[in-house]
Symmetry: C2
Subunit: 229 residues, 2 copies
Amino acid sequence: AIVESLLKFKSDAALLSGKRVVITAGPTREAIDPVRYLTNHSSGKMGYALADQAARMGADVTLISGPVTLPTPTNVTRINVTSAREMAQAAEKSALRADLFIGAAAVADYHVANAETQKHKKQSGQTGWTLQLAENPDIIARIARHEQRPGIVVGFAAETADVVHYAQDKLQRKNLDWIVANDVSRSDIGFNSDDNQVVVFGRDGQQFDLPQQSKSQLAGALLALFMKD
Amino acid sequence: AIVESLLKFKSDAALLSGKRVVITAGPTREAIDPVRYLTNHSSGKMGYALADQAARMGADVTLISGPVTLPTPTNVTRINVTSAREMAQAAEKSALRADLFIGAAAVADYHVANAETQKHKKQSGQTGWTLQLAENPDIIARIARHEQRPGIVVGFAAETADVVHYAQDKLQRKNLDWIVANDVSRSDIGFNSDDNQVVVFGRDGQQFDLPQQSKSQLAGALLALFMKD
């Protein structure tokens, strides 16, 4: 019943009228050298669907996007970034004092501390290679703890095990209002799929199970949920 | 003058009639855990253009492709793979005794020796992470030294410095007939560009400079060159 009533909000074209919404989407890439990099599985589809729906609902939308092959949704301002550190800068520039910030990007938690400026060449006799990874800034935690914090801050948790546990921990630890959790060990939803199925947890202990549906439909339901108060 | 005469071969629609051609294209992905991976910059456009042109010239074409967003060219048999080790298996299955093998894929030289089956979680107090990389099979060297070696074996060298030196070294060391070298430190050609500019070296010391042109045009010129004897 809760899910159905949320879906009904989708017809409210003016729900986000006058609101400033900032969304991150896609993966980040962390250079190893000029030809190699670390990244995460992410098509960007969920974040782009959220940006598209938010614009349709009347919001002023900024989409901070890692490298994806998706077209920019109509009436959305897109900022392209590559690394997590670039995404962090763009987010701190755009998201402060926004009405709604959604961190839908699959941000790399680490960059390569011993990255090389020329293509790495194997040394004589060497058979392996050791990459030292160092932590990236925690974009969403920084935004959510900032003194100019956006009105509502929403995170995503893509997990392969103990989904509920990790999502609720992240919600609390990063001072979020909502967290959208999905189980990416399933191949029929998430990542490059056009569908998704998620569980949403709120800071007041609420839990909403949203059944499998297109990412576009889901985006409408999620935005209605985040703005319901 | 050499370049112009090569380009003329493009109109020869039957140049590869009855020939079996196997091409690898795109990047490979090496899992770190279910959500993170190592990869190389590669759109797959050059390998796909070669497969398309080879089919137009009458060849029986097998395209072994890493993850890309390109459509399969008409009359081309496409085999999808993810990791370098999967690509090596597919290549050894398809390429032996072929008339022409072209290794256009950006194969990862390393996989992650300490890959994890569940999403990696930071341990308490831990701020970094060390990835141990181990060498992948050298696909093109294995194919080119096999007792059922294809008639002609062609490699690619994407370099950021000392392009000519590394390309000629690779040609000799891996027992190739031709190597196609490009300087990927330039942003106007290579990687995700629709154009490319390359230098081709032959095992007999020949060198051909092919000027900047579309990857489709370049594919025709390259196939004419490889089959010229």
